[in-house]
């Protein structure tokens, strides 16, 4: 294995870039699973759906980032409708909603995958943009611009989502519904509507994350399988429901993977990342930023 301080520094730098991408693809789940306690394993499938939407708009010359933003309102409505259905058929009916919900969201993920196969075929799809396939130089280091874009988007998403959750009435209500639902009800707010709204936001964020997904690499309908483990890992490592924690957890995962990959071999990267998760949960069961 090749080792040098330059290589280590590059590994950390690329870890930061990839880590921010991990945070971008996990932040919607942080709302759905972290705050609402909904076992939303279809979140990566919605991202892939967002990626295909971006691909579709890209055929008309729309920039991928703009596509993500344009798709977000549609995904918001989709999220609202899906939560309502989940609430009526599972959550409302009993305490084992979580377990049955897993099957529900697994089914949704599979339907999305098959739907994409039928609509687009099984081949990989990519988009074009000025920042894809090009790199920028930082001294001797060449950095792919697509990763820089993902880095910037993750920072912006985290910033605006944190701001929304802490400064607006609805945002604070979303946080409150996660902590104490009966108390929120006593304050005159409808928890189901708040959750519905929050799930809509989580799904809208998945559309933007989907745009990031297809910017970073080609997508195919089954791509969601790669991200199920990683996104849940980031959210749990962060501490359920913490937006800034999601960013930090993504960074930790990205940097750990990158260093391990450079110094010890790529095969160890996923094992070390999940080992890290176990270690953190052993010391802090509530996650890094959980209360």
């Amino acid at each position: 294995m090749v080792f040098s301080l330059d290589l280590l520094a590059e590994a950390v730098l690329f870890g930061i870039l990839v880590g921010c991408f991990y945070a971008a693809v996990s932040i919607g789940l942080s709302v759905a699973f972290g705050l609402l306690d909904v076992p939303h394993i279809a979140h990566p499938a919605f991202m892939v759906l967002g990626a295909y939407g971006t691909y579709l708009l890209g055929r008309y010359g729309v920039d991928p980032i703009l596509s993500g933003l344009l798709l977000a309102p549609l995904f918001f409505l989709l999220g609202v409708a899906m939560y309502r259905f989940y609430y009526e058929t599972f959550e409302k009916r009993g305490t084992d909603a979580g377990v049955r919900g897993l099957a529900f969201f697994f089914g949704i993920a599979f339907i999305i995958e098959i739907g994409l196969v039928l609509a687009f075929g099984v081949d990989q799809r990519m988009v074009e943009a000025a920042y894809i396939g090009k790199s920028m130089s930082l001294g001797e280091i060449r950095i792919p611009l697509r990763l820089v874009v993902a880095f910037g988007t993750a920072l912006l998403l985290t910033f605006f989502l944190s701001l929304y959750l802490s400064k607006t009435f609805t945002g604070r209500a979303i946080k409150a519904v996660a902590q104490d639902e009966p108390a929120l009800r006593l304050m005159g707010a409808n928890p189901v509507r708040i959750k519905q709204w929050a799930f809509g936001i989580a799904t809208a964020v998945a559309a933007i994350a989907g745009a990031m997904l297809i910017i970073v690499g080609p997508v195919e309908p089954a791509m969601d399988r790669v991200y199920i483990g990683r996104t849940f890992c980031v959210v749990v490592l962060a501490g359920l429901g913490s937006m800034s924690g999601t960013l930090v957890a993504g960074l930790i995962l990205g940097i750990a993977e990158s260093i391990v990959l450079t110094m010890f071999g790529a095969s160890w990267a996923p094992a070390v990342a999940f080992g890290l998760l176990l270690l953190v949960l052993g010391v802090r069961p509530q996650g890094l930023f959980g209360r």
């Binding site: 990839v18 075929g121 950095i143 792919p144 089954a222 095969s267």
Partner: protein, 408 residues
């Protein structure tokens, strides 16, 4: 009038017999979703074309032929269950393996234990340890030297002394890597970088930078489609350095038209294995591709289908010849026939070695040249993939170093 009546009665009797006996059922799993679906869906189109053709000619042994195909989702975990169902519940007459090595490997012990004929489908070395005597692979290769001899010979001619090896951590790519390592040893090359990466790898920038830092003369890659595209993209963005003379070898996916089209000019300079490039001539193959192209549009699969589809049609042709010659569906008799005779197919004559792999392999190493972005038609032209080895198929010399071949 009497003669007409006799013909009519004969037709009636034969059609009743046709219906009574039921169809010959050929079972398989085929990736229709997941990472291997691009190849799997196209392969199934080709097999269905053969079924249409053989049924139009009256079927086999007076019976229609029917395909039973299940989606294995590109997962090796699903294939043992599917093949058990095909054998015990569907009671198929014959079996074809799923596309690719990874889903095929776990069914090898099953078919050997049951003593069943299995027509292989672009697997690599799955029978090397199982040693099933009723296995016949449609892919035009046998062992690792049959894949990479041209690649490493070209590297050595360019004066290469060192090599970097990047391989996906799964059955197929690891088999390729092991074979390549034997050739690396044979050519006395020094390994300066060796990395196995998991299939879930998102970005290859870190690995490509490490390869650049190691300054190898040759970069050998054994990858599946998702990895192949991501690697090509990372190489385009970061570069592998001026030391590299030749790059590629065993990258699955760079033979698929949709991928070639979308990767476009980033392919230039890469030397990679292939099973068919425009310019190779076999009786009937042009007509086949013309018919396939129409089906491909309807089925939304690889529009050219050079890599895998004619070899799937060839599976049907081989079964057809063996069944007609032996007048039987007995697996042992068909296997004996396949082993002893040369088969005539649209991918040329096929003769099998004792291990069920091709006795005369026909894998070429070709270098992408003059590829432009967004143009499917260019891949139909000879000269866009120049065969640099093995010697008997050579259409040109390798352009090196890699950066020069890429036009950088």
């Amino acid at each position: 009038m009497k003669r007409l009546l006799a013909v009519f009665v004969a037709m009636l009797v034969s059609s009743v017999a046709f219906a009574q006996q039921g169809p010959i059922k050929i079972g398989m799993s085929m990736p229709q979703t997941g990472g291997l679906a691009g190849g799997g869906k196209a392969a199934l189109v080709a097999l269905r074309m053969w079924v249409e053709d053989v049924n139009a000619k009256g079927g086999l042994l007076g019976r229609k032929v029917e395909l039973i195909a299940y989606d294995d989702q590109s997962s090796a975990a699903n294939t043992p269950g599917i093949y058990t169902k095909l054998i015990d519940v569907d009671k198929v007459d014959l079996l074809i393996a799923p596309y690719a090595t990874v889903p095929t490997a776990p069914i090898m012990p099953l078919v050997k234990q049951r003593g069943l004929l299995l027509m292989g489908n672009f697997s690599f070395q799955v029978n090397a340890t199982v040693k099933h005597d009723m296995w016949f692979n449609n892919a035009p290769w046998s062992d690792a030297p049959s894949w990479f001899a041209g690649f490493f010979e070209a590297g050595q001619k360019l004066g290469a002394k060192t090599v970097a090896v990047l391989a996906e951590d799964q059955e197929f790519a690891q088999n390729l890597r092991k074979g390549a390592m034997a050739l690396i040893e044979k050519h006395k090359l020094k390994v300066v970088y060796e990395q196995n990466y998991p299939s879930s790898t998102v970005d290859f920038s870190t690995m490509i930078r490490a390869i650049r830092a190691a300054k190898p003369d040759i970069v050998f890659v054994a990858s599946y489609p998702n990895g192949s595209v991501a690697i090509v993209r990372a190489v385009n963005e970061i570069g592998v350095g001026s030391s590299v003379k030749i790059f590629g070898g065993g990258m699955v996916g760079l033979q698929f038209t949709p991928i070639m089209e979308s990767v476009g000019s980033s392919l230039n300079g890469i030397v990679n294995y292939n099973t068919y490039v425009p310019g190779m001539k076999y009786p009937g193959i042009e007509e086949y591709f013309a018919r396939y192209a129409k089906k491909a549009v309807e089925e939304k699969v690889d529009p050219l289908g050079y890599y895998i589809t004619p070899y799937n049609y060839a599976i049907g042709q081989m079964l057809e010849q063996a069944i007609k010659a032996t007048k039987s569906l007995d697996h042992r008799k068909i296997a004996d026939y396949l082993r002893k005779n040369e088969m005539k197919t649209i991918v040329g004559p096929i003769r099998y070695g004792p291990d069920g792999e091709w006795a005369n392999p026909r894998v070429v190493q070709a270098q992408f040249r003059g590829i432009v972005d967004k143009n499917v038609e260019q891949f139909k032209q000879p000269g866009k993939q120049v065969v640099i080895g093995p010697q008997q198929f050579k259409t040109g010399e390798v352009v090196a170093p890699f950066e020069k071949a890429r036009g950088k």
